[in-house]
């Protein structure tokens, strides 16, 4: 039987948007506690150095300074989320230009800033390495010599294989080889990172911070400070100004907590925009050497990728070096696959998760190569992909489970109609002229929420009813601006037969809400949504039981909707939730206090499938690219809140086109100093830079997921860069390999094409 849904699947205004449009929404930076001090961090002017000595006495003597700390107090290991990522609060060795050296808390930011200039540091400058391939050489400077579990700078080395690629390449009629590179980029969430720490007289720590997880940080802090978890309260304020993967790994939390303890006052740290660009996590630059073998008819027979991932000085991004292999197996059938990945330390800014983590860069390489192969063997690139696409029932090699739903075919068909696919050049670059038009596309898949059977993906929810029949939903994960709070309330209202506007949602407070993972990896709708649906179902069950006793009607004949319990078929004669809770039998016995909870174990990951199409105009004299239209056609499972899904997919286009054309964090090649850590020099696309955009939502309802949903937060960014790149290829025939495709990169590719 098909479920009849009335709240799930409806576009509703995001909860909290009333606060945001009036300027009353409180973000971490808007907090003010009595006596609160402000922190500033002294950052290293060297890319690699030992700190031989540090004298803070002059800074401490400055009026208004309340605490100064260095590695002597703050060399405390901070481990969040991933075992191989290690960073100290402050170490006695700096590993990139901008690394933490000392920190000051003072009565104002101005005084704290001034005090940094009075800290005397004796650096022993060490040779540094900025290039990932150089870092792999035996004679390269070692970024983490203290780690005996790391081979030189190679933190990760992963080899994953299915079938026999040597045999596969022998069977191929055509073999193609390429080398692609991608760049370091910054999430550029509009809200800079901010946090506040406060200790009470009993030694309890409370922290507020703009983050994507509360509990994992609390757990890390508990381990770092050797404190029971009950003595640390970590709160993500109700409003977070964007995350995109960039808000949960910084070790500054150790520093701010220590400053607050030492000063005996609350301390706020807000990073400057320059610090956000240069010292928070970045998307890793990568090198991909690709090799693909196909039969004459377009059947993929062998695929090989050798990936090098620059994980910077501190390396949460290292898991990408192994996980990128997944994407060779999720989208297309191919019997022979080999992936070799390296995660390499360099003396550059730290790496971390970013939207489409582990997925976006390798998709650029793979989908760029496939587009060229299609034209080379005389196939329509869309048909070439559909011919090889995994279908429902096919086994996904990475986890040996079948595909249970796929909207790829529908997405491709609708997407190519929307872009006007027949207008593409049949032979790329065959039309002349200075300005040339072209159309390109790319497909993607992604794992959401978790991939391997050894990993757990667990959501928790607690639901409480008030005596007037309204509800409080308590969840451990934050809303980072994408609308999680609204989606969860929709699921709860649907599953319990309640009213959406009578459900208030409290998130990510470790002393109040149940444990939660992270708002990341496009996982929350599945993971936490699953728990919400179960908890709401239990609440509804309990309310029906109470109503059954009052009404004298068996439970199985009752249902609830809009906060009213009624006999099926007789919706007009019902009892409101409020009536039930205030009925004398229920009220007197205390049965009106109802709290339900649920834990949801995500049974299997459910990949979304989708595509992007780009229509571009290239000026072959200046190398300028103008994206005229972009179409994202995505399989999102069931859209819980379609307007919100559209908003995320449109936002992904902005980020994805920027990744393709304009965004890159540049470092000085000799010193590692930042060259463009401002919005003036780091080009994030603005309103007038955007093309016409069209979002097409494809909804194959998956039988294994909560209301048939799939995670989509990261999806639309993934195929954008290869779609734009392939449109440029279609327009000009120029084979671009490096991101971003600046005029310089494009003109070079055009010259190379002329030589051929």
């Amino acid at each position: 039987m098909v479920e009849e849904l009335t709240i799930v699947g409806r576009s509703v205004a995001m909860k909290g948007s009333g606060e945001k449009v009036t300027g009353t929404a409180e973000y971490t930076v808007d907090m003010k506690l009595p006596g609160m001090l402000y922190a500033k961090i002294l950052r290293s002017p060297h890319a690699h150095a030992n700190i031989r000595g540090i004298d803070t006495s002059r800074a401490e003597a400055l009026p208004g300074v309340r605490a100064v700390i260095t590695h002597e107090e703050a060399k405390i290991l901070y481990k969040v989320t991933h075992g191989s990522a290690r960073e100290y609060g402050i170490d006695d060795r700096v590993r990139y230009h901008g690394d933490k050296v000392a920190a000051v808390a003072a009565v104002s930011e101005e005084v704290a800033e001034e005090a940094l200039g009075f800290i005397d540091v004796d650096y022993e400058v060490l040779p540094a390495v900025f290039d990932m391939e150089e870092a792999m050489r035996a004679d390269a400077p070692v970024v983490h010599p203290e780690r005996d579990d790391v081979d030189g700078n190679i933190l990760e080395h992963s080899v994953q294989e299915w079938g026999d690629v040597e045999k596969g390449f022998k069977e191929a009629d055509h073999v193609f080889e390429n080398r692609f590179t991608t760049q370091r980029v910054c999430h550029s969430a509009l809200e800079p990172h901010a946090m506040v720490a406060s200790w009470d007289g009993d030694g309890n720590l409370t922290m507020w911070s703009s983050e994507q997880t509360a509990f994992m940080i609390r757990d890390s802090l508990a381990e770092a400070f050797q404190m029971p978890r009950s003595k640390i309260r970590f709160i993500v304020p109700p409003h977070v100004g964007g995350g995109f993967g960039g808000k949960y790994e910084s070790a500054e939390k150790i520093v701010v907590a220590l400053l607050a303890r030492k000063a005996g006052r609350p301390v706020m740290l807000r990073l400057s925009r320059e610090e956000v660009f240069h010292t928070t996590r970045t998307r890793s630059p990568c090198i991909f050497e690709t090799k693909t073998g196909v039969k004459e008819d377009g059947t993929l027979v062998a695929r090989e990728v050798r990936a090098i991932v620059d994980v910077g000085a501190y390396a949460w991004g290292a898991i990408m070096a192994s996980r990128a292999a997944s994407y060779m197996t999720l989208l297309y059938r191919c019997p022979n696959i080999r992936y070799v990945g390296y995660g390499v330390y360099t003396n550059t800014p730290p790496s971390g998760a970013m939207r489409g983590f582990t997925s976006t860069p390798i998709h650029y390489a793979m989908e760029s190569e496939l587009e060229e192969i299609a034209y080379a063997i005389g196939m329509d690139p869309t048909e070439f992909r559909l011919k090889n696409a995994l279908n429902v029932g096919d086994i996904i090699p990475i986890n040996s489970k079948p595909v249970t739903s796929s909207g790829l075919r529908e997405a491709v068909i609708k997407g190519r109609e929307a872009i006007g696919w027949e207008r593409r050049q049949r032979v790329p670059g065959s039309e002349g002229g200075v300005k040339r038009r072209g159309i390109g596309m790319a497909c993607y898949s992604h794992y959401a929420p978790m991939l391997k059977s050894t990993e757990r993906s667990v959501g928790n929810a607690v639901l409480k009813i008030n005596v007037d029949g309204s509800f409080h939903l308590l969840l451990g994960v934050p809303d980072i601006g994408q609308g999680l709070r609204t989606i969860m309330a929709q699921i709860a209202a649907e599953a319990l037969g309640g009213r959406l506007d009578e459900i208030s949602v409290t998130l990510a407070d470790t002393s109040v809400t149940p444990w939660g993972t992270t708002t990341a990896a496009s996982r929350s709708t599945q993971e936490t949504g699953g728990a919400v649906k179960m908890a709401a179902g239990r609440m509804k069950g309990r309310l029906l039981e109470l109503a059954s006793d009052i009404m004298g009607i068996p439970v199985e004949r009752l249902d609830a909707k809009d906060g009213v319990v009624f006999a099926k078929g007789v919706p007009e004669q019902g009892l409101t939730f409020k009536d039930i809770l205030n009925h004398p039998d229920v009220f007197q016995s205390g049965e009106n206090v109802i709290v339900t909870k649920a834990t949801y174990n995500v049974p299997t990951f459910i990949p979304p499938y989708g595509t992007a199409f780009a229509d571009v105009e290239v000026d072959t004299e200046t190398g300028q690219v103008r994206v005229l239209k972009m179409v994202a056609a995505s399989d999102v499972g069931r859209a819980i809140n379609p307007q919100s899904v559209e908003g995320q997919l449109e936002g992904g286009m902005q980020m994805g086109i920027g990744y393709a054309l304009t965004e890159v964090l540049r470092l000085h090649p000799e010193t590692g100093a930042p060259l463009n850590n401002s919005f003036m020099d780091y080009k994030v696309l603005r309103a007038g830079d955007m093309p016409e955009m069209e979002v097409i939502i494809v909804e194959p309802v998956d039988p294994n997921s909560v209301y048939g949903t799939k995670g989509i937060g990261e999806m639309s960014v993934i195929p954008m860069a290869p779609a734009v790149r392939n449109a440029i290829y279609n327009a000009t025939g120029a084979r671009v390999h490096d991101l971003p495709i600046t005029p310089e990169v494009l003109l070079k590719a055009l010259r190379e094409k002329e030589k051929c």
């Binding site: 205004a13 909290g16 300027g23 009353t24 930076v29 550029s188 409003h239 977070v240 925009r273 309103a687």
Partner: protein, 157 residues
């Protein structure tokens, strides 16, 4: 200690007396001294627009305006838009069109849009995009924001 000077700002129609240091920006005074935290500090260099307020009818990044130089000017912030508990049409349009995600750019966006519509009640889409060119958004791709502003201008669809 730097000596502070007394200035009087006209903010949202009311005179407000504040004591400022010469280097303080209007954004700092609005946020720290007047408790008007709707304007956000996104970059401090006038490049992101999150701090946009209207000064003498023009949208300006308040992080680039020295507080002392704003003396005698008429300043409107996001906090002035809601009247009698009712949202301004732009605020309503932002909510209804799904133009708000994380919301950090929203107050600045709305003030830039308001300055545009105050001077040009019937702008083209191109003029709307031009007016919002100084306001960065990382969540929406701008589409729903532009649609929201157009809907208030009466040129929707």
């Amino acid at each position: 200690m730097v000596e502070k000077m007394r200035i009087v700002l006209r903010v949202n129609g009311e005179p407000r007396e504040v004591y400022v240091e010469p280097g303080w920006t209007l954004l700092r005074v609005l946020r720290e001294d007047l408790g008007l935290t709707g304007a956000k500090h996104g970059c401090g260099n006038g490049e992101c627009g999150a701090c946009t307020v209207i000064m003498d009818g023009k949208a300006v990044p308040s992080c680039l305006v020295l507080a002392a130089s704003a003396q005698g000017k008429e300043i409107e912030t996001i906090e002035s838009l809601q009247t009698g508990g009712e949202h301004h049409p732009l605020q309503r349009a932002f909510i209804e069109h799904g133009a708000v995600q994380c919301g950090f750019c929203t107050p600045g966006m709305i003030m830039s849009a308001k300055a545009l519509l105050d001077g040009n009640p019937d702008p083209s889409e191109e003029e709307v995009r031009e007016a919002l060119q100084g306001n960065l958004c990382r969540c929406t791709g701008y589409k729903k924001i532009v649609e929201a502003v157009m809907s208030v201008s009466g040129r929707e669809g």
